[in-house]
Subunit: 447 residues, 3 copies
């Protein structure tokens, strides 16, 4: 801050009136919109005693709450502790990592409940919510947390809130196109969350390119304890990823299968990450950056196919490959992206989310195209891909084609959306810091 003033090139990072205004007005808008639109779904409403009888349920246990709440809590931890702490690796940006992630996610889930609600839970003029909506809101915000990773340390909290507003909106549109119009399966969000979120964030950071960022190079590193804090984030993401990929799958075998596939993929990913981390380093030592990030690529890469009959060995293959791709990305692609394409990707989301997300979409398309009634059973086949109603005549190979189309749509939405939102964030009114003050908590926090 002082250095800013001395050099006379200071940007105005004073938040006192701007940040409160944005927070309060937006929260007021949420209250009004919730008041007009949001009500409890049948399973959370006190009328349920009567509903239950009509739905012919034998026990309160069949309330969706008990099928999904434990997974919801795991997902919740991933969004707030997982992403929050994963980003604390920077030596002087721990408050910003955890705190801004907290802020944008807390706003984002409210806005996502509305946006996704209008698209998917709208009945008679009301959005009816239950535990599945909470999970989907967390998912949607997950894509914002991913994009945050690319611009970590370089933006003001207001910019993050603005980005969240737009990204949640675009996410919901993209999700609607994929799930409802293309009738694509994507339970763990390889396409909707990771591919979209990562390429959106990479486009934003490209638009916000800062030529003089090396001025804060000394702050872009980690220190011993900041790397341990980051491992808290890594491990919670890694451990709970089976819950993430299975959280909104169909009850029963689909949830069960998603968890197993993800567990297998992640386990394999750790070994190939360690292997390549050591191999790509002249001294043969392991690099915490890889362990913190690339070990998670296996979760991303089975996001679409985990609920399908990918099989445990299929999952091991996907996890192994994604660990390699991600680690190689950290060593070779990230520097390339910065020097040649001017994409400054603080956390390396290109390696953790973008490439593994694409792998996930492709694996999903292939797995869907390869589905047979023999493997799934007659009923299981129809249920797994929801080949009912107008989709009764869809064949696996057509489904595979639509899955592939889903990847393309997500990419286009991400590039177009990221370019527009990046442009908006470039306006000089949001209070971002100058290059030399990036990655420094002191700008927005009392330290």
């Amino acid at each position: 801050m002082e250095r800013q003033r001395h050099q006379g090139m200071a940007k105005n990072t004073y938040m006192r009136w701007r940040l409160p205004l944005v927070c309060l007005l937006w929260e007021l808008a949420m209250i009004i919109l919730f008041g007009v639109f949001v009500r409890f779904g049948a399973e959370a409403d006190a009328h349920w005693e009567e509903e239950k009888r009509e739905m012919n349920l034998t026990s309160d246990m069949e309330n969706d709450f008990y099928f999904r709440y434990p997974s919801f809590q795991d997902v919740h931890v991933m969004i707030f502790v997982g992403f929050g702490f994963l980003m604390t690796f920077l030596k002087r940006y721990g408050f910003g990592a955890v705190g801004f992630n907290f802020l944008l996610a807390a706003f984002g889930i409210q806005w996502a409940l509305l946006m996704q609600g209008w698209f998917h839970s709208f009945k008679n003029g009301k959005i009816l919510i239950g535990v599945e909506n909470l999970i989907n809101a967390d998912f949607c915000v997950g894509s914002v947390c991913i994009a945050f990773g690319a611009i970590l340390g370089k933006t003001s909290p207001i910019q993050l809130l603005v980005m969240t507003l737009f990204q949640v909106t675009l996410f919901s549109v993209n999700e609607y196109i994929l799930l409802n119009l293309l009738h694509v399966k994507d339970a763990g969000g390889s396409m909707t969350i990771h591919t979209f979120g990562a390429y959106f964030g990479l486009t934003v950071t490209r638009v916000l390119y800062r030529p003089n960022l090396e001025q804060s190079k000394d702050k872009q590193g980690s220190v011993y304890h900041s790397d341990l804090f980051a491992m808290i984030g890594t491990l919670y993401l890694w451990m709970y990823w089976p819950s993430f990929n299975s959280a909104i799958s169909d009850h029963g075998d689909a949830q069960h299968r998603s968890a197993i596939n993800t567990y297998c993929s992640l386990a394999a990913c750790v070994l190939t990450t360690m292997a390549f981390s050591s191999m790509l380093q002249k001294k043969g030592k392991l690099d915490m950056v890889h362990i913190q990030n690339a070990t998670l690529a296996g979760g991303v890469a089975v996001g679409t196919s985990a609920e399908m009959m990918l099989t445990p060995y299929g999952s091991l293959i996907v996890g192994s490959v994604s660990g390699v791709v991600s680690t190689v990305g950290y060593v070779y692609f990230t520097p390339f992206l910065e020097s040649r394409l001017h994409i400054q990707d603080t956390c390396g989301i290109h390696n953790l989310h973008a490439m593994p997300g694409l792998i996930g979409g492709i694996v999903g398309a292939i797995t869907a195209a390869a589905a047979t009634e023999d493997v799934y059973g007659k009923e299981g086949f129809v249920k797994a891909f929801d080949f009912t109603g107008v989709y009764q005549t869809r064949t696996p190979s057509i489904q595979g084609g639509f899955q592939a189309a889903g990847i393309v749509v997500s990419l286009l939405m991400a590039f177009a959306g990221g370019a527009i939102v990046g442009g908006i964030l470039k306006l000089p009114i949001w209070g971002d810091a100058s290059a030399e003050n990036c990655f420094e908590d002191g700008v927005y926090w009392e330290v």
Copy 2:
């Protein structure tokens, strides 16, 4: 320690015989009392195979264990990691924060199983326990953890154990009066846990007032990494609060609804906290103290009403207001309480638990008073407020009145109990440190 000796004003903080004696005798008492009184409830007893048939259950799934165990574990994390780490913000008192919280909670849950058991689970001379008792014991201890926040750094472990003994006892009496005599609803404990716990702790710290505490002022601050450790506590409390408020609600819609209301309230609370944290600071920067604490006020403030038909937008309003009140409290009330009322409140529990707890009680009373059969459904109305048996004739407005009475009773119990227990803790035999050695782990820990 050495400074103590030099100045000749040392207090005797030697724990070698006193602490072991208290711990061992009390544990022995627990063993004897458990031996006489505590047995497994029907659903945890090996006779359950026969019971199950009598209860006409279609599946083992209908064992209460599966309705409540995931929530129990979340609550358990809140008590031990949530409260424990939230208090690690002090730069030199991390061991005391986590370690003493661990000690008092581990003792407290045993004593609470007995006290609450005598009041609520006593049949034929035995206390029959199941997972709901474990949750309630954790809840009860939660109120002690809250009170601990007010005296953090200023008391010996023996004082904390003595306080726990008495506070658990008083908590159970107060809870019995509210739930059984007044027939009040308070699933998330705005009154029984937060209002009672906080005003009890504030009264105790008032009685234990230390005029020379500024001698250890340099230790009352945080350092960078201690603030990150504290954020672990904050986030686990924040994320799992929906489980806390829904853990003992009725099966089905009530648990479902409690989680949704709490989720909404907490999300809103983060935005207003950030807004006021920035606004009330000349430099407009965010203060970690507020982010660590005031963001949680939304969970406290819907504690009573979460299981009612508060509605999502109602929750947003409650959360928004409580974030503002709590942040304003940290900036203006805490200094005032210390300088004028001689209430030294280390963690600011007045802002996080006392005021939001009162808000929670009031919101609960209003929500109950406003209940209609239209909103709840005929059956849901009776079930939600348990208007059965002698309470068949209770109207919502009468229920609202009793809810309000519950707040008053909790306050009176807290003030009276806190004064007495504070007096007991003032006896010079418990081994507390002198003012200059407060907030310093070296007094009771090998460092």
Copy 3:
């Protein structure tokens, strides 16, 4: 590293080709073996729609996933965050503690799925897996994490992988002997996990005895923040232990009871640990080593008996005793083991797992021998000990005898296996560091 070179006594710790080779070849082997053998069990397979009808289930809720997944996730956290962070107490070995634990566990669970699968889930040439297999794989790896504690800081990652390969194999054989041949009950693994894992690890570290280890004495201590990181591990192990001991118990009352017994035992253990930690210290101060470790002994010591009718007061007694034994162990036995028996036990697993594991096995044998139809009910008695088929005629006292035999078998397997594996690890090809470079992350990590 540089010091090594200077002194001319350097060991070759260069990992560049060795570690990648081991990781990649082994992962390849996993893929092939999974491809040949591992398939989804009925409840995770898409054919389940048809299966469900045959099994006469009324709801998807009766899928084993919903009975066990929340417990699985808790166990998963214990293995990766619990053990990982518990071992971060060393001031300069945090990366190794968390990172190598991550590596060996990720490999171990894959190999365990196969080994345990061949013994327990093999049907028509295929291993059919579901959530219970995931839990058992985590359990098996838990025993490796325990053994890792003994050799923490003194081995290369390749040694750890080699140890994991062999230990998982031996674990599975031992487990098969106990559970299938001796028909022993050991739901929480006092014998199979703790006794076996700890004595295995102690034997390995004895074989790997390093006479000059005092050269790295300055690194064997903790610093303030490393002790707080370790408390994260402690608390997650402590809080989730009820899930650990109940995770694979029979549905219904057995799971319910296991959780209650473990909760009680752990609570009591904290008090006696604190008491003895203070008492055995001249200055009467508490020692973080004890708090971090001995407080967990209560969970180990009810591992076998938790699902039996141990009763809550029985659990308090077991927990109290094990806290005392464990703390006394840290003060007196650990130095003795090192100086007299040349057993260098970095984390003190002898006190946390070996002795409490033995207690657990003995308590289990006694509890089984004392079982009566009166206490368990006619049906509950048969169900609790699975006295069906060829075991119909087993009496409780015979069962007690077999339980005791299980302890002996576990010990013999541990000593024999540990000696052989220790011998293998002594080969000079695995890249371990010289004594002066032990407990130092810089050897294998970019710092």
